[in-house]
Amino acid sequence: MIGNRVRAIREADEVGAIRIRWIPKYSLMERVLHWGHTAAFLLLAVTGMVLFFPFLRPFAVGEAGEMVRVAHRGAAIAYGALPLVYVILEPRRTWMSVKSVFKISRYDVEWVKGMIPYYMFGKHEAMAPQDRFNTGEKANAVVIILGSVVFAITGLIMWFGKGFVPIGVYQVMVVLHDLAMIVTVSMFVVHLYLAVVHPLMWAGLVSMRYGVTSAAYAQEHHALWYYGPERAKEIYEAQKAEAQSDQE
C-alpha cells in the first residue's frame, strides 16, 4: 500500500499532489454478484454447520432448528440464482472471466513457486506476470465454481429427492455435500485472509468495493492484464535477469 503510494508520490512530485491513477477493473454487476454471493455463502455456511458440528447442536434443535433449515434453503436460492442472473445480464463478461479463471499457464506454476516467499517475507522480485486474476484468485474461483456445482446437485437431490431417490444415493449426497463444504469453507478462510487481512493485499478489497484498481498496482501485480502478453513477458524476463545479477 505504502509502496504504491510512494510511487504515486514520485510520479506526482512535479505537480506537488498525491495522485493515484485509477483504472476500472470490476463492473458494478460483478461487484453485486461478488458481495451478494458472499452474503449467501456465509449464511449457508453458518446455517449448514449447525447440522454438521456436534458442538453447534443446541442451535439445530426443535423449532429453532426448523427455522435454520428454512433459512438454509432461502440462502441456497439466492446462492444459485445470483450467478444465473449475472450470466443473463453480462454473458460476454462471464465468458471472459470463466475462460481466464480456468486457463493455466507456466506463469501459474512459477507464481505458486514464488507464493510462499512473497506472501510471508515480501519477496516480490520477479513474480510471474498475472492476468486480471492471479493464480490464487483463480484457484479460489475454480474451487468455488466446482464446489457450487456439487452443492447444487447434491443439495437439490437432498431437498426434493427424499423418498424418490434410493437411500444409498441420498447418503452419498449427504457426504458429498459435507465434503464440498469442507473444501470451500477452507478456501474461503484463505481467501478472506488474503483479501482483507494480509498487509500487502490492499488493492483487491478496494477493487471489489469501488470497481477500480491503481495503475501502479496493476502494473506490478497484473502485468499480463495491464501490458498484454508480449510486453509483460519482456518486463518479466528483464526483472528476472536483474534479480539474478543482484544475487551474483
Partner: protein, 264 residues
C-alpha cells in the same frame, strides 16, 4: 429391566388390523382419508400419523396361493443408524429396554433418519418445499412399558399373534414356534430379527422367506454412516482448524518479515 422385544407371529395373524387401530387410539393419531384400492390394506402406506400398518400380500408358488400378512412398524434395532445420524439427538435408544424413540420437541425435521434407516421406518409430515415438519415412528409404547403395561397393539391383538416381553424369552418362544411350523408343513418358516442390525426389538415368526413378506433378507447398517460421522466430520473440524491456524501463522510471519516501507 433388560432389553425388551415384540414377537409377532405372522402365522397366527389374521389381519384384523386391531393393532393399527389400537396404535392410533393410544397415540392419539388421526385417521387418514383414503380411497378404495381394491384391497383390505389401508391406508396405502405408513406415514407420520400411521406408525403401524398390516400389509396384505398374495404369495403364489405354483398351484399354491398364500395370503401373507405383515404387521409393519419400527424394528428397534440393536444398532440403530437413525440414532447415530440424528444431529439433534431427538432419536434415542433406551439404554435398558433398547426401545428407539423420537423426541418431537428436539426433532427439526432434517430427515436424515428417514434416509439412513434400512427398513424405511421413520416418516415425516414435512412440506417438500420448506422442509418444515417432524419425523415420527413407533416407540413401542415406551410410556406404557415403563409403567408396567404392554404396548397397545400387543394388548389389543385378539388372535394372540403379538407378544411382548424380555427379548431372550421372546427369542426362545419364537424359535419354538418356528420348529413347530417346520413340522406342520412350512419348511421355510424362520425367525426374523435375531441377528439383523444388532438384533431387532421386533421379531417376526414367518412362514416363508423374509423377501416373500417384502422384508430385506439381509438388512445392512448403512456403510456411509461411520464414514460420515467418524471421518468426514472430524476431517472438517481439522480442515477449518488447520486453515485458521495456518492463516494466523502466516499473518504473524508476514507481519514480522514484510517491511512495508521497502515494498514497491
Amino acid at each position: 429391566m433388560s432389553r425388551v422385544a415384540m414377537l409377532i407371529d405372522e402365522s397366527i395373524c389374521m389381519a384384523c388390523r386391531g393393532c393399527q387401530v389400537a396404535c392410533k387410539q393410544w397415540n392419539d393419531l388421526p385417521a387418514e382419508q383414503t380411497t378404495q384400492r381394491g384391497t383390505y390394506e389401508n391406508p396405502p402406506d405408513r406415514s407420520a400419523i400411521t406408525w403401524q400398518l398390516v400389509r396384505f400380500r398374495e404369495y403364489v408358488q405354483g398351484e399354491n396361493l398364500q395370503w401373507l400378512f405383515l404387521t409393519e412398524g419400527c424394528f428397534h434395532c440393536g444398532t440403530p443408524a437413525c440414532v447415530a445420524v440424528c444431529p439433534t439427538s431427538a432419536l434415542k435408544q433406551d439404554p435398558d429396554l433398547g426401545i428407539v424413540t423420537v423426541e418431537s420437541d428436539l426433532c427439526n425435521g432434517c430427515g436424515y433418519c428417514t434416509q439412513f434407516c434400512p427398513f424405511d421406518i421413520p416418516r415425516r409430515d414435512a412440506d417438500v418445499l420448506t422442509g418444515l415438519g417432524k419425523a415420527f415412528k413407533c416407540h413401542m409404547c415406551q410410556d406404557r412399558v415403563t409403567n408396567g403395561l404392554i404396548p397397545a397393539c400387543v394388548k389389543t391383538c385378539p388372535a394372540g399373534a403379538l407378544d411382548f416381553g424380555d427379548r431372550n424369552e421372546m427369542l426362545a418362544k419364537g424359535k419354538d414356534r418356528v420348529e413347530y411350523l417346520k413340522q406342520a408343513g412350512f419348511p421355510n418358516a424362520n425367525l426374523y430379527g435375531e441377528q439383523e442390525m444388532g438384533g431387532l426389538g421386533r421379531l417376526y415368526v414367518l412362514k416363508e422367506r423374509p423377501s416373500a413378506y417384502g422384508l430385506p433378507e439381509d438388512p445392512q447398517y448403512p456403510v456411509l454412516e461411520p464414514v460420515w460421522q467418524n471421518v468426514v466430520q472430524p476431517l472438517g473440524t481439522l480442515a477449518f482448524g488447520a486453515a485458521a491456524l495456518g492463516v494466523l501463522a502466516f499473518w504473524a510471519i508476514a507481519r514480522r518479515n514484510i517491511n512495508m516501507e521497502e515494498v514497491e
